[in-house]
Symmetry: C2
Subunit: 419 residues, 2 copies
């Protein structure tokens, strides 16, 4: 056990290290899960795969004109096995899966779901939010009037007993979930946990798993888990319409100009198409054709993702190595070691995450605001920090991780000395 | 005045003409306002203006990555003078203005407008629908729970006395309007009528003009009206946030892969961006950059539109000529003679539009269903038929118009003989 004078010595050292780092006047940003320019370059050839001479799909659709709410069939066929959704239950959409999420939730609020036509918006409506989770999920749902209920995650997924307890309220209409390489922990839900969620008794007959498979193909290592066939798990449990599946190529091709996907049970997809037909003209089919020609087939997508891994795995490793070296020996924090996705979650001592973020900002390292990983931006433990290492260069990531370590060390010893 | 035997003779002739036409076994479609392949070819070079080597805007934005909810500034600057909206009050969006319409109306239902934060959805909510009008406007609003109230159009725009009478109800939140070359009549609202709408007393403080300027650049003739500066007219009347302006390049570049626009008063644009930030990631900026490079400037857009006119004006003329020749001498119907846009409206004798559409279908000419131009698909006069001559070839348009004339003649004489 450290004596107070030991701790004061370490605080002084941490303070000196921090000042030294801050004095370099760096400007680094590890806030958002954006691909780096080098990753975007991987899809450079996609941009010219469709020309004015040949904008027709293999089945003869002129992608330049109106029509085709479901997206072009050949692209749906490529992504169907990757996402484990039958191609006729998979829609290809515009440039952002968030749009599909907003549309599907809005339809349910106004018209009810495919299972129950009572509009969610006609009474109290709540969503379960595994924490730490994705801030945009929470902001979207809050803006649509949902009350957000936090539930804890363990290393296998959302804690099922807590989910079930909360789902006993008929106002609880569903649960957000990033099943693979979760934002921000990197955790992948186990098949057993997914099976339990598929079968879980719920008061709402149309309780829905908002299955945002944003990182389902985003492996960092050769060995990796497979995507779960959540639709079959739900069907086997007698809840064939329980899962709404979202995905996109935003972090596969171009972040602002990819293709989004929506999948679900047969009735859910009919419901989605029917509702979309009233509020949308149809997706940009030219861009879908670009993607089709760029990838050719499912294996083309997988090969492309290995190129991403080659670029970003070293960045993850740089962060993990810096954390291990700087925080491991004194056990000042713990962190996740993801095998894919875009984020590492750092858990500091309780009560200092906001201090770390502030120190980092003052030293030139921009971090996601403390609390952003929780509903309403409130992390009760004030200990969760999301690290997004993909966008900066490897050298910048190494520097940012070094700076982050200095901040955590300083804030930790400040707290320990203060007692 | 015709005797009954005269009429019977004409009916027999009309019937023979119709049978002759039907016997040709043609398959023609003049239902939807789609550009023809030849029109889509005009923007062929757009598709390759952005390559992987150079996907940056003039101001240095990497269009491939996330960010930029407002759309790229340089494209907004090109379209701002064309649409008569200050560029900082004009957003550039995704591939369909209908999406902007659905989003703006949904935000107002949930959050209230920029003028009044009482959500429209918390009470009865109604929209005025000038008829004949655009079926997708009506379907969208109905799907969002609005009650649709028809108001008549004259040759200067919506009849103001009727609009004002209905707007005395606080549940009436706004009015649809296609100000230039209206779908389907082709009428352009006069500045005087627009001024009256801008100043009209309304019970709802946030009564909104849903100003869908879908055809604002789609002139058929060299001489043409200018777009109205509706934002200034509203501001001068003390209602600076009254107009929401929608537009797109769907019928300028590629119908499924254009760029949409949203404009409004300063507070409305702030409100839109703030709400969009919660439900959307941002538009496809690469496609916006393609448009910027293809057009270069506002004059580039206008020059491009003249090429469209060269293709479609002859199709309009073919229809008008067939109507004049086949229906004019007996005064069996009347029709609009638009100077732009995508449609001609044919008004038959009362009670026979559905019969004409049915006869046409049986003779191989597909027409928009009778009633589609009215809320809930119900045209009380059963006399309005929308003609969309752009998509088929000129030869097909000529044939379809000839078939349509035969159907109107037959249905008219059937009615006259039946008395």
């Amino acid at each position: 056990m450290s004596t107070l004078s030991d701790l004061q010595t370490r605080l002084d050292e941490a303070s000196a290290d921090y000042e030294e780092f801050a004095s370099r006047g760096l400007k680094l940003d590890i806030t958002r899960g954006k691909p780096s320019p080098e990753q975007l370059d991987l899809a450079a050839d996609l941009l010219t795969t469709v020309t004015g001479d040949d904008a027709f799909t293999p089945s003869g659709v002129d992608t330049r004109n109106y029509g085709g709410l479901e997206g072009i069939s050949e692209l749906r066929e490529i992504f169907a096995p990757l996402l484990r959704v039958p191609s006729d239950q998979l829609l290809a959409g515009g440039n952002a899966s968030l749009t599909f999420m907003a549309q599907a939730l809005t339809f349910a609020l106004i018209h009810g779901s495919a299972v129950d036509d009572r509009p969610w918006g006609h009474g109290p409506h709540k969503l379960l939010c595994p924490v730490p989770g994705y801030d945009r999920h929470f902001t979207l749902a809050e803006s649509l009037g949902f009350e957000l209920l936090s539930i804890p995650m363990d290393d296998q997924g959302p804690v099922i007993a807590e989910a079930q307890r909360l789902a006993d309220d008929p106002a609880v209409k569903g649960m957000w979930l990033v099943p693979m390489y979760s934002n921000p922990t990197g955790i992948t839900i186990t098949e057993q946990r997914a099976r339990e969620l598929a079968a879980m008794p719920t008061a709402a007959v149309d309780f829905t798993l908002l299955w945002d498979n944003a990182y389902g193909m985003h492996h960092l290592r050769e060995e990796h888990p497979d995507n779960l066939d959540i639709l079959s798990l739900c069907a086997e449990a007698g809840n064939p319409e329980r899962a709404w599946i979202f995905a996109s190529t935003s972090k596969i091709t171009h972040a602002g100009a990819g293709v989004s996907f929506f999948g679900g049970g047969p009735a859910t997809v009919d419901w989605m198409v029917s509702n979309l037909g009233k509020v949308a003209i149809g997706p940009d089919k030219i861009n879908q054709l670009r993607h089709l020609r760029f990838f050719s087939d499912s294996a083309g997508v997988e090969a492309h993702m290995r190129k991403h891994a080659e670029i970003i795995a070293p960045k993850f490793d740089a962060v993990l190595s810096a954390l291990e070296k700087g925080l491991g020996p004194d056990s000042l924090a713990r962190w996740t070691r993801p095998d894919g996705g875009y984020f590492i979650t750092l858990t500091t001592m309780e009560g200092i995450a906001d201090r770390v973020v502030k120190l980092a900002a003052e030293a030139g390292v921009k971090l996601t605001p403390a609390g952003a990983t929780h509903p309403y931006g409130l992390d009760p433990s004030n200990s969760i920090i999301r690290i997004a290492p993909t966008m900066p260069s490897l050298e910048e990531v190494e520097l940012a991780a070094q700076g982050l370590v200095a901040c955590v060390r300083l804030a930790s010893y400040e707290k320990l000395v203060a007692g």
